[in-house]
């Protein structure tokens, strides 16, 4: 193998999702250890793919900060539970986008022909600790009143409202939609059977303008996927989801000129994914979207950032029902992060739910005829983005 001959680029190996597994997400899984939690999701993904631990070449695991469970680099302790002994094991941590990034790192192992079949998993067991205070940095890193993620994001939501003139009620419409979608998803954490729009709108104000009803829960949960190459997909018992594009983009936390409402890293990341997937008009060509909406208002904000609506117009899609389960562009069919938030896993759940849709395996929250779906995750100070676009057909290029 000489440097010159091998420097030629070869086409990437197509990547297929052939197995998906999740735990039933809840506030506290006191019946299982961390190892038990991740193994449950991994086992379900293997069962979906009709594979065994022996079929897995490598394991890529992701989660948000180690302080959320109080275990430093927990992948070391989880090697046994995830059947990784004797195999390569990687641990990804890119803040809130980590679930998506983890899937992309795993996908690269297949795309780069390093491995044939890879297990990827992300989790959070928030009940082991307290995420809000885990996120609240001590002085002198941060001003003492910025408690939790909501304190960071609320001013940017307010900026979006001022910039676009969106009516105050938009956020509540998103929350009302997502919580009703969650009723159709057996794995969702929140199942609020008696929910009404009035209840959403009369909930206590938490971080103005974000009400308690418009913020994500703290969940224990894990999500796993089996990714494989063309040969693996040919052996799969159920229709695979094919990866048509995937990308990550990062920008600094804060700097003069940063647009917190519609960060450039998000726009660039989406543009890269659309370029790989040959998408010219996302609004027309993409059938369904699972995006990372931890606070209700992020739905219209991301609709604009991802190119589904012109600047200032995102809230109109929400208001007119376009993003409803039976709308023209369903968003967060699973109930989204607003209904389920095991932080480290939340990005991977978006990616996995997008894959479930194009596989036609989403059950009661399936959108009929979904051919292309986008999975989206973000993290940090609206600075880390990871996305993938999956399709029912293999990529043509």
């Amino acid at each position: 193998m000489s440097g010159a001959s091998a420097s030629t680029r070869v086409a990437k190996e197509p990547v297929a999702v052939v197995g998906i597994g999740q735990t039933k997400h809840v506030a506290a899984r006191r019946d299982v250890s961390i190892a038990g939690l991740v193994r449950e999701a991994a086992h379900r993904a293997l069962r979906d793919a009709e594979l065994t631990w022996a079929d897995i070449d490598a394991v890529v695991i992701g989660k948000a900060p180690d302080f959320f469970e109080g275990v430093m680099m927990p992948e070391l302790y989880l090697a046994d539970a995830l059947g990784a002994v004797g195999k390569p094991m990687l641990r990804v941590h890119t803040a809130g986008s980590v679930g998506g990034s983890t899937a992309l790192v795993a996908a690269n192992l297949v795309a780069g022909r390093v491995h044939g079949t890879v297990l990827t998993l992300a989790f959070e067991k928030q009940s082991e600790s307290n995420a809000m205070w885990g996120l609240s940095l001590p002085v002198p890193f941060q001003q003492p009143l910025l408690a939790g993620a909501g304190g960071f994001f609320a001013p940017h939501i307010r900026a979006y409202m001022r910039r676009t003139g969106a009516p105050d009620t938009i956020g509540s419409l998103v929350a009302y939609k997502d919580r009703r979608n969650a009723l159709k998803n057996p794995y969702a954490h929140l199942h609020e059977h008696d929910i009404t729009l009035e209840k959403v709108q009369s909930a206590p104000m938490l971080w103005d303008p974000v009400r308690y009803s418009e913020t994500c829960p703290s969940s224990d949960g894990a999500c796993a996927m089996v990714l494989t190459d063309r040969a693996g997909a040919a052996r799969a018992p159920r229709p695979p989801a094919w990866m048509h594009g995937g990308a990550m983009r990062s920008e600094p936390t804060m700097f003069a000129g940063k647009d917190f409402v519609s960060p450039r890293a998000g726009k660039d990341c989406a543009a890269d994914v659309y370029r790989q997937a040959g998408i010219a008009d996302p609004r027309r060509e993409i059938d369904a979207v699972e995006m990372y909406v931890p606070f209700s208002w992020y739905e219209p904000m991301w609709l604009e950032n991802l190119g589904f609506a012109a600047e200032g117009e995102g809230w109109k899609l929400t208001e007119s029902g376009v993003t409803e389960l039976d709308g023209d562009l369903p968003v967060n069919m699973s109930g989204g992060v607003l209904s389920t938030n095991p932080i480290g896993a939340s990005g991977m759940i978006r990616f996995a739910e997008a894959a479930l849709q194009v596989r036609g395996q989403a059950g009661e929250h399936q959108v009929a005829g979904t051919r292309k779906a986008l999975g989206h995750a973000y993290g940090g100070g609206s600075q880390f983005f990871s996305m993938w676009l999956v399709g029912a057909e293999p990529p043509t290029t």
Partner: protein, 355 residues
């Protein structure tokens, strides 16, 4: 057919930089520790942040004592316009592995890899106990020296080494470090009393702060950026069970497996940079890697001369590459480890072009 550990594309380490590792850097933030090193590798290649195709880093929130600690480092990197970037909560050697995989996909031709760790603010010996099984082991707080001592005792009992031989490893490493201006412990260092029997002060790594960075490039790009690229002929990593009770502590099967996959046994290497923080761990690794006396082991002084946690593994890859860059090695093995008693191990085989 997966190309596995050899890669379809030739990728090389084309630049390496590291900080001067010190017992304490109270006056520096992680970013300030890292910035000169990043500037060094970019200057060596003539690249700017915007020229880099992919950036990947390794660090630990538990060392920094705050969540998302790596985000501050990213601010220092200058990720504007936005960059394609990722982070592993692992030693930088695994960040290098992720970047190598990215280059294998053909999506980019260059990658910047960095890692850093400040052990000085806390008691790293105790901090590392938080890596252990949180239900059955971590509550007992068995510290990293105690666990390494358990391994050393098993080696001595098996007749693989003795305390005199371990002292010899310590002396050889710190003597070699005399020529390494970045090392923390150099030259004659007293072997000292027992820290945890049978390990003495001299058998243990220094505690310190440091940072490291490398630039990777693929194919012809590597030749443009470096006079003598250190080609990664193979790279692989493997993990073992976490529980010490089910492992043979006198052997490292994961190191041997990774080395096999990386092609380390296909031809002899002339140099090996081993990430062995404790003298006894070098004994284990030499055995697993079948390194004979003709191999120059840890000419940098290794982790016994400087052990910035989270960067020390990446530094092994960088030191091995730097020897190839300057023509002091033709074929070198680099090793990185993570977890208690060498639980997880990475092996890379680096080569220079034939002269």
């Amino acid at each position: 057919m997966a190309a596995a550990a050899h890669g379809a594309r030739d990728v090389a380490i084309v630049a390496f930089g590291q900080s001067d590792h010190r017992r304490s850097t109270d006056e520096l933030s992680e970013v300030e520790l890292l910035m000169p090193v990043l500037h060094e590798v970019l200057a060596a290649t003539g690249l700017k942040t915007g020229d880099i195709g992919f950036t990947c880093s390794g660090s630990s929130d538990y060392l920094a004592g705050r969540a998302f600690s790596f985000t501050m480092a990213l601010d220092g990197v200058g990720a504007w316009p936005p960059i394609s970037e990722s982070h592993v909560e692992m030693d930088g050697a695994w960040a290098l592995y992720e970047a190598w995989v990215k280059l294998q996909t053909g999506e980019c031709d260059t990658a910047l890899v960095y890692s850093y760790g400040k052990s000085s603010p806390g008691s790293v010996r105790d901090v590392l106990t938080r890596q252990l099984d949180p239900y059955y082991v971590a509550p007992l707080w068995p510290d990293s020296v105690a666990l390494a001592a358990l391994q050393a005792r098993a080696l001595i009992d098996a007749g693989d080494t003795d305390e005199r031989a371990l002292a010899g490893v310590a002396t050889r490493s710190r003597t070699a470090a005399r020529t390494n201006p970045h090392a923390q412990l150099r030259g004659s260092v007293p072997h000292g009393g027992y820290v945890v029997h049978p390990l003495r002060t001299g058998d243990c790594p220094p505690i310190g702060d440091g940072a490291a960075a490398v630039v990777l490039a693929a194919g012809e790009r590597a030749r443009e950026l470096c006079g003598r690229p250190a080609w990664i002929r193979g790279i692989d990593h493997r993990i073992e069970p976490h529980s010490l009770g089910v492992r043979d502590l006198t052997d490292s099967v994961s190191t041997r497996l990774a080395a096999e996959r990386a092609g380390a046994f296909e031809r002899p290497v002339d140099t090996a940079e081993l990430h062995a923080p404790f003298t006894s761990q070098e004994v284990v690794l030499r055995k697993a890697l079948r390194l004979g006396d003709q191999v120059t082991v840890n000419p940098s002084g290794g982790a016994l001369a400087a052990n910035p946690v989270m960067a020390a593994g990446l530094i092994r890859l960088g030191e091995a590459a730097a020897r190839i860059h300057r023509g002091a090695s033709e074929r070198a093995l680099a090793h990185a480890t993570s977890g208690p008693c060498l639980q997880q191990n990475l092996v890379a085989v680096l080569e220079g072009d034939p002269r």
